[in-house]
Every structure is written in C-alpha cells, then in structure tokens.
C-alpha cells in the first residue's frame, strides 16, 4: 500500500504543479506530506498565484481557491482518468478570463475523460460538443429539451 500511495502522490503532485501553471498562466503549487509514516500522514497544499508570495490557502480569493481545487482535480484525472466525471457549476466564482482558460483545458481533457458539466457560464457552454437544455415548463416537473449537437469548429486542436 504505502509504495503505491507514494507513487500516486508523486505523480499527482507533478501534475498538480504543471496544471496549476497552465490554469493560472504562471505561479506555482505543490503538495507535501505532513509528519508521520506514509500510512497515516496528511497532505499540505501551498498555492502561489503569479507574482504573489506563498501564503496560507485560506488567504486566497474565492476564484483563486476554486481554480486551485480545479487544478488538483485535473491533476488526479491525468494520473487516473475515471470512466466519466460530473461537475456541477465548479467554475461559478471564476472571472471571464479564468472561465475561458478552464473551459479550454476541459475541452482538451475531454478527449481522455467523458465530462458531464452543469454550467451557467458562457465560456463553458461555447466549448460544449453537446448541449442539453433542462426546463420546467410544467412547474415542478423537469423535462429535457431536444439536444443541439453543435458543430464545433476544429478549434479543439488549436486550444
């Protein structure tokens, strides 16, 4: 167990710092193991947005925290893609620029992992291969609108 854990930890940590830099356009992030043996120790996380000093995670802004958490999620998926992934408005606190970076990254990763994403944000909707509309035209009862299979320009390759 512990050697499997250590390998997973090291690989995910490597991914985390790469993905963080891609999403933030710079800066750095890393995980470290707390005291104790690999069977019981905890994991500390430090994140440093570009141009800023290393600080306590809690001092990050709402959007910076969400983007850091998203970077960690993508880092884990890169190490071990799951059969599919459901994300419910995880980019709600991001500004326009960060939503677009996130949506680009998501679109590239969706070649390895199947994503089902619930969103209100334009940047994310624009990257969709398939858009599903949900409505309650009869109050209290959910209905699905017909899908619109968007012909996405081949920008995915460009992203």
């Amino acid at each position: 167990m512990s050697s499997q854990f250590t390998t997973a930890f090291q690989e995910i940590n490597g991914n985390f710092s790469v993905v963080f830099q891609q999403l933030f356009g710079g800066g750095g992030a890393t995980m470290s193991l707390t005291e104790g043996d690999t069977l019981t120790c905890g994991i500390d996380i430090t994140a440093r947005p570009p141009g800023k000093k290393n600080q306590n995670l809690s001092l990050l802004s709402g959007g910076e925290r969400a983007l850091t958490a998203i970077a960690l999620l993508f880092a884990i998926l890169r190490y071990k893609p799951s059969p599919f992934c459901v994300l419910d408005e995880i980019e709600a606190s991001l500004d326009e620029a960060n939503v677009n970076r996130f949506a680009n990254y998501l679109s590239r990763t969706s070649e390895e992992v199947q994503f089902i994403v619930i969103s209100h944000r334009k940047g994310t909707m624009e990257q969709a291969d398939t858009l599903y509309g949900v409505t309650m035209d009869e109050a209290g009862v959910t209905r699905l609108l017909s899908m619109s299979l968007e012909e996405k320009p081949d920008r995915k390759r460009l992203a």
Partner: protein
C-alpha cells in the same frame, strides 16, 4: 465514452420518465434555477450507490421520490438506470454493456439490478470501487462543493490520493 445513457423516473423533480442520451466529448447541461440540473447529478450519484441522504440534499432517503407539484400527486417509486459501455473492460463484468438500476419505494424497500438481474448494493459498490466513482469519489463534484478538495484537513486529503492509487 463510458456513460451512454441515463434513465430517470420518479426521482426528485422527474415526475415524467426522462432519457438522457450522451455523446462523446464535452456535454454541458444548462437551464434556469430550480429546473432540475443538479437533480440529474444527484440521480447519477444515487445510482452509483450513494447511501447518505444528506449528500443528496435530503433528510431521509424518501426525499428523493417525486413528491408531486401543484398539479400532480406524489408517486410511489424512484428509479434511475445508468447504461455504461464496457467494451474497454473498465468494469470487472463479462458484458460489453452494463445497465445499473436502483429503485426505492415509499415503503422504504430498495432494489438494485445489474443488466435487469437483481443484486445487492454491495455488488454495485464493488463494481465502482477504485475507479474514481466509488465512495469518496473525486469525479463527482456537487454544486458548491469544489472547495472541499482544498478545505478538508490534511489527513482527510489523503483519501483522494488513496482512491486514485
């Protein structure tokens, strides 16, 4: 592409049966507040074996059964089926396609089925263990929960790595 279809009936706000056909690539679900988007993600997590009513935003498991609306009466059963493509042998079952079904009756009785054959909850949970979809799954992130990956205490974060190891 793994998840091919989601069928939902009588679960939360799904008074009528709905069928969500999925395609490869990025699927995005949109709609107004309160229209039932998060209920779809709850249906998926319930079918994968979620046992805590509070993770499904209810206080008792019966809260997931369609309670009716202004014009409709409550129903007696909630049912969700996930149809998975297993050609890549991701799951340890000898089928090319796997349909996982979960039912709950108002009486409190539950039923679980794999390809229409009754099974136990344990069988479903075993199917998804260590795939990233099991308990402590990192690949199902509920609304407002993205922060939890960071905000849990250091010793809680290790289960995320263990689930992936």
């Amino acid at each position: 592409m793994c998840l091919k279809r989601v069928d939902i009936q009588g679960f939360k706000s799904f008074g009528d049966r709905i069928k969500l056909e999925l395609h490869s690539g990025l699927s995005v679900v949109v709609g107004p507040n309160g229209s039932g988007k998060s209920n779809i993600s709850d249906a998926i997590s319930w079918c994968l074996g979620e046992q805590r009513a509070s993770s499904l935003r209810g206080s008792r498991m019966e809260d997931v059964i369609f309670a009716g609306s202004d014009k409709r009466k409550a129903v007696g059963m909630a049912e969700v089926t996930l149809t998975l493509d297993n050609t890549a042998k991701l799951f340890s079952l000898p089928y090319g396609e796997i349909a996982v079904t979960r039912r709950l009756y108002r009486s409190g009785e539950s039923e679980y089925l794999i390809n229409k054959v009754p099974c136990r909850l344990k069988d479903i949970q075993a199917l998804f263990m260590d795939t990233g979809l099991g308990r402590g799954a990192y690949s199902l992130i509920g609304q407002g929960k993205v922060d939890e990956i960071l905000s849990s205490r250091p010793e809680e974060r290790r289960h995320i790595i263990e689930e992936a190891a």
